[in-house]
Amino acid sequence: MRSRPLLTLRLNTAPVQDIGATPHGVRVTFPIVGGLFEGERLRGKVLPGGDDWTIKRADGVIELDLRITLQTDDGALIHMTFQGIRDDAAAGAPYFRTVPRFETAEPKYAFLNSLLAIGIGEIRADGPVHLIEELL
């Protein structure tokens, strides 16, 4: 399998909402108040109003379920979601991987509608950063 860089996504989050222990695990919602994304083919900002709905399973793995809207620097709106897992107990380093999907009506960015992508996430001091690549 081969992949190539699509974009780097930096997210700004508000204080979390600790929903607590629910039937599927411990649910914590991260409101996303903004952010930036940049790649060779697209760049812009993250609109406020998105969230990452996370749930910590009984085996310690956190499942991620993100929905945000991207706005490119030329005004296109892109609906973005990802599902993923974060396993802080993985051997070596935390395993934080996602599968993003995109939907847009803007012809210039229609290539996003027909690709599958994968991401590597990192938690940095100023918020999460996702390195997202297109599956070739």
Binding site: M1, G84, A90, R97, T98, V99, S114, L116
Partner: protein
């Protein structure tokens, strides 16, 4: 991004159910008659009852939504799902529709499998994200599934 081979999955598709034009596109459900999988860390067969719920979108991209149960050769059950996309030049897609064998490098056929199991030996599958490339043969698809490292 780094990948590690997980397994090859070969499935045989039964008679398709053409649901037809629905609000999101054209829906065709493909029951999976049988299948088998093999990799260095797991091997076995696909249990009956699996299916691939496909939707051909207005932009010509086929969305795949596969659900199946894998049974390993040491009797563990693994729930597997995978979302995928398939598209390509019209003449290539037409050849696939006619049941011809087509070079898989001439079209885009990628999926993102997920696994769930209760069996401790295979619990590593609960903690990984995978990606697959597909080869749509006349008798059914062959997926090469890799773990994202």
């Amino acid at each position: 991004m780094d990948f590690r081979f997980l397994m090859t999955l070969q499935i045989a598709v039964g008679a398709v159910q053409k649901i037809g034009a629905v609000p999101h596109g054209t829906r065709v459900t493909a029951p999976i008659a049988s299948g088998h999988f093999e990799g260095p860390r797991l091997r076995g067969k696909v249990l009956p009852g699996a299916g691939d719920w496909t939707l051909l979108r207005g932009d010509g991209v086929l969305e795949l939504d596969l659900r199946m149960t894998l049974e390993t050769d040491d009797d563990a059950l693994i729930h597997m799902t995978s979302f995928g996309l398939r598209h390509g030049p019209p003449e290539v897609i037409a050849a696939l529709a006619r049941g011809e064998q087509v070079d898989p490098s001439t079209y885009y056929f990628r999926t993102t499998p997920r696994f769930e199991t209760a069996h401790p030996k295979y619990a590593f599958l609960n903690r990984l994200v995978a990606a697959a490339s597909g080869d749509r043969r006349p008798e059914g698809p062959i997926y090469t599934i890799e773990e994202i490292l």
